[in-house]
Symmetry: C2
Subunit: 463 residues, 2 copies
Amino acid sequence: LNTLKLVQQKLETALPKGRVVLFSRDDHDEYTKDYSSAAPVEPSLIVEAESQDEVATVLKVANDFKVPVTPRGTGTGKSGGSVPLPEGIVLGLKSMNRILDIDVANKMVVVEPGVITKTLQDELEKVGLFYPPDPSSYKICTIGGNVIENAGGPKALKYGVTAEYVVGLKGVWANGKRFEYGGKLYKNVAGYNFVQLLVGSEGTLGVITEITLRVRLLPKVQTDILVAFNSVEDASKALLAIQNARIQPVIAELMDKTCVKAVESFLGNSIPNSHAGAHVIFQVDGNDSDHTQKEAEILSDLCRQHNALDVSLATTDKEKEVIWNVRRNVSEALTAFSEHKESVDISVPPSKIGEYLSHIESLNTSENHCVLGYGHLGDGNIHVNILNLGHSQEKWATLFPAIERSVFQKAVDLGGTITGEHGIGLSKLPYIDLMFSEEDRANMKAVKAVFDPNAILNSDKAI
Amino acid sequence: LNTLKLVQQKLETALPKGRVVLFSRDDHDEYTKDYSSAAPVEPSLIVEAESQDEVATVLKVANDFKVPVTPRGTGTGKSGGSVPLPEGIVLGLKSMNRILDIDVANKMVVVEPGVITKTLQDELEKVGLFYPPDPSSYKICTIGGNVIENAGGPKALKYGVTAEYVVGLKGVWANGKRFEYGGKLYKNVAGYNFVQLLVGSEGTLGVITEITLRVRLLPKVQTDILVAFNSVEDASKALLAIQNARIQPVIAELMDKTCVKAVESFLGNSIPNSHAGAHVIFQVDGNDSDHTQKEAEILSDLCRQHNALDVSLATTDKEKEVIWNVRRNVSEALTAFSEHKESVDISVPPSKIGEYLSHIESLNTSENHCVLGYGHLGDGNIHVNILNLGHSQEKWATLFPAIERSVFQKAVDLGGTITGEHGIGLSKLPYIDLMFSEEDRANMKAVKAVFDPNAILNSDKAI
């Protein structure tokens, strides 16, 4: 504790007045947790940095005194990645939220890490540009968080995940030394790819203070199509037929019957075709409305050929709202109906989705719990929800870990991963042995030690 | 030399009969060099491995005796990356050339590193799939080499470079331990991204023995368009206008007047519009011939609006052959006309190409040498050729390094890189200080040391 007092003094001397804040339970509850179910932890100090210099100062002092640092954006992560350590520093980045450069000619943008994803998307839209990655928290999460966790989202099906857009990074390694790699470049093979080493590194190697992203031209037309299928299998086959017809949907969001029924109860409205085995929201986009309409028609026909019960197209915002209403309420509905909900984000080769979903259905051995999946049909990334509907806390404490392990194990057995877009963080550390050998983990730790010799930066997480 | 005798014996015992070959100047000249101008070096032993086990054996023995190993595909690299070390082992991978799995449903393929790029493309085409990366050596280079150098090519403009297709790697770290990362996955954020650390690592970290690539559906229609512009500036502006009209060319290959004139002399035929300031080959593709034709027409109109002297479309193979004839002969023509030719592959933000080309033109201070550029207009990647046309060898030995450094320096000054697709290898090591600080290089070397503690694997190169 004397150490922390000294650290506080050093930081107060080196940083602008008011920057160093002593944690208080009443005022700073948000800093104890993220959007996962990881248990809250109280840090000692909070610094919301406003520049790369301030980030470097915090890391230097933390190294001098070997005090843990937990970087943080807006804390919307789903794996506990920004849950702090006791007697540690939270290094907040949400105030570094300037869009530094929108370069229309090169189709590149340069941003600070605290920019909200939707803010960037809105600003780009004004000049006809498009940043596709769209994690469901896009209205409140930060680009820095998206980069450090390599966030995905529904549009990854056509447009890929965050990693594919990151071409340059500036920041500070955990050891306090600054780095700058890449830039407004479409091709660059000089040196090891430390840009992509940092992407998805879950805040364990360094703190990013500036990001260069390549962006796209905004498609002029978007059409959403809601399809009710008899079964998930039919939906999967339909998607394959659509792609073979050379139509690449932007989105193919799947909800099974359990999800739709839960939303129906939650909203108190009857949802059309709620008895269907699977609902899928497709989106097609393009720049020629005739061409996109033709694609939407072909897509609809192919769904009907795969036993679709109903197909509805939406082009106006109002029609789109109706289609997305169910999907937007799934998470909240499932939370409302369960005493404990754990949502994980496994990913498997897309052709294995049917087999995977059958497996998780087989885990529903009691009416007191439910395991179900919804998510991204085309890219194999499924949000599996494990719900306690009525087991006692004691019973659930023994049942839950076995169910969760089985959910992860099956994904790995099918050639998949235990996390498609949320990261390992704290939540999945107990299952990391399913993915990595002791030797793999030792290698990752040795690479971390190159940049973080005192193990001060998020060292309790990810690897 | 006693050590090498021992190494030879150990390898002969551990490997199948005939696998270990003693280097002989007469029989194995190809093993001394690659397609760069790096000076040939004679190794001591050659092993063309046929399995991951054999690769692991070679690396284990090499570690035991601390003998250098240089991995090699077909040796078509352009930066000296597979030039061996004296008293070292060449570890050849071209015999590991099986396509292990073409997975149409998941749009993934699994291949060994020795598969020729064109062979893979041809096999995929038979089932309607498409692997876009197309380095100019695609008929003779290997996928393994493409991955380890992160090869680009003309189609990168629309479809990206090799890195964007690599989703899984198996192999052996330099220390002899095996690795396996990723798989047939579109989303995977578990652990550090060692897949992308290996891509472009120039054979300094490990040897890849199996590669999983995602592939695309083959577009049904392709149209090539050759345009003669007044100037490079007009060509750049036209491309921007084309992209803003929401047409993304697959290819935009630029040749300046000097290139075209050189080919004209070389072939002894007159080339139409050879007096034009710049020739650009565009390609557009799609799945609906009406739609693609419409795009080709809009593109042509936009070129004419930017002072195009001539626009010719090609849809048949024969017409395409005519259009590509000049481009295919550029390299050979320039070689024929010069006593020494060095070709480098800088990359800059696309909007800086005009400024960059003006700079290299300014280096033409004597009729006895010529610096010129051709390459990939849209992605900023230019092949700068530095030609000695008449200087004495002595004069050139002093002039050339200054010219080459200026060629690289200007790229870096404009926010670019000294290598867009060939790698640092040996050829660009003298200029690595332009890109990386001493500390950056120390960090890369420390990461290498995690996987190659005895520094046996290509340790003279890349970083």
